[in-house]
Amino acid sequence: MKYLDEFHDPDLARRLFDEIAEAVTKPWAIMEVCGGQTHAIIRNGIDQLLPDLVELIHGPGCPVCVTPLEVIDKALAIAARPEVIFCSFGDMLRVPGSNGDLFTVKAAGGDVRVVYSPLDAVEIAESEPDKQVVFFGVGFETTAPANAMMVFQAKQRGLTNLSMLVSHVLVPPAIEAVVAYPDSRVDAFLAAGHVCAVMGTAQYEPLVAQYQVPIVVTGFEPLDVLDGIRRCVLQLECGRAEVENAYPRAVRAAGNEAAQAMLAEVFEVCDRQWRGIGEIPTSGWRLSPAYAEFDAETRFDVGDIEVDEPEACRAGEVLQGLIKPDECEQFGAGCTPRTPLGATMVSSEGACSAYFQYRRLATAATNG
């Protein structure tokens, strides 16, 4: 398929591997922030084919993984109500709360529906006026424009039976939290290309200036990831720290200005809890005062639910790049995608799930 097959070309991949091997003289640790890139790396064995001097650290860029336990518990409480139709992207349904997941609620008779687009929730709300339709608004800057449009349309069309449980998170503050962490080993970042397609590249300039870390905007196919790594290594070896765009076919410097205008209309920046990491200042979006009536937390009075994370799960260390998934004692034993302890094992973008899908046999062989 166009724009996919060409970026899987093994001969061009070899050129990039050779170029990286030629350039590298010192050990460098590069974090791919986005879970989609983690999967591309593990699925294609990119980390195993790189020179030993280049280490890839998997970052916190998986919205399913970082949605706090208490938000999941709020979703479960709302979804269990008889008058509610709870709509969500599919990958949130298996994320464990304190007591079950959205599948458990559905099995017990709750009306939980998987939707492809938030606009589907608008249609459901219009066709079921006697029900309260709630959309689970999670994700990074990539899904936020879609979710913002749902709230905007609800207001425009006067839908009083549609609301959103909001747990939106932002990439740049997460990068800052990682790089500012005292034990951080990260020398450079691959920034998530599609987040930049929406938000542009300028918001990374202050991070580069303050922390002197290269940040390379990177795509998701194997050649994209390798070119991002190559550009990071070249910058690090020359002592440069710049924002570089290795994904120009999809990312323009200004980003998508129509989407940014809608985000500014519907959302405002807030502090946000990240599952396994804790609170990161100014790292989220909530509904702005003009749209507060569409906030499901206040509509269903679940704002005071507070819970602690389970202790056995080391997802927080995985999300901060402090350990690799297979260094967790529970990996593949007490924690599998069928019976996950934490969200990093659930999500199609989670690092633990990537290791389980593509590397558990290799891990078992090494450990055995």
Binding site: L16, G90, Y116, P118, L119, V122, A146
Partner: protein
Amino acid sequence: MCLGIPGRIMEIRHERHTTMATVDFGGVTKDVCLAYLPDVEVGEYTIVHAGFAITRLDEESALQTLAMIGELGIIEELGPTEAVEAEPASEEAGQ
């Protein structure tokens, strides 16, 4: 939810109080909202997240990236002597 893949715009129409398109993802078609990419045209490729087109794919940039990667290591492959000899030839070709 975050895995945006390229799709080709097949048809554009006005419905659901906005502009929608049928987008082909390698044989699977989906309805996609074009509210954030209003000037995209049939035949162009776009990246879609959560049912919304968020950016268009630029063919020229894609070809440039592939050409740049394809040229990596060319000088080393030719070897020092051949590389020097190759230079005037490429200049002639450019004239």
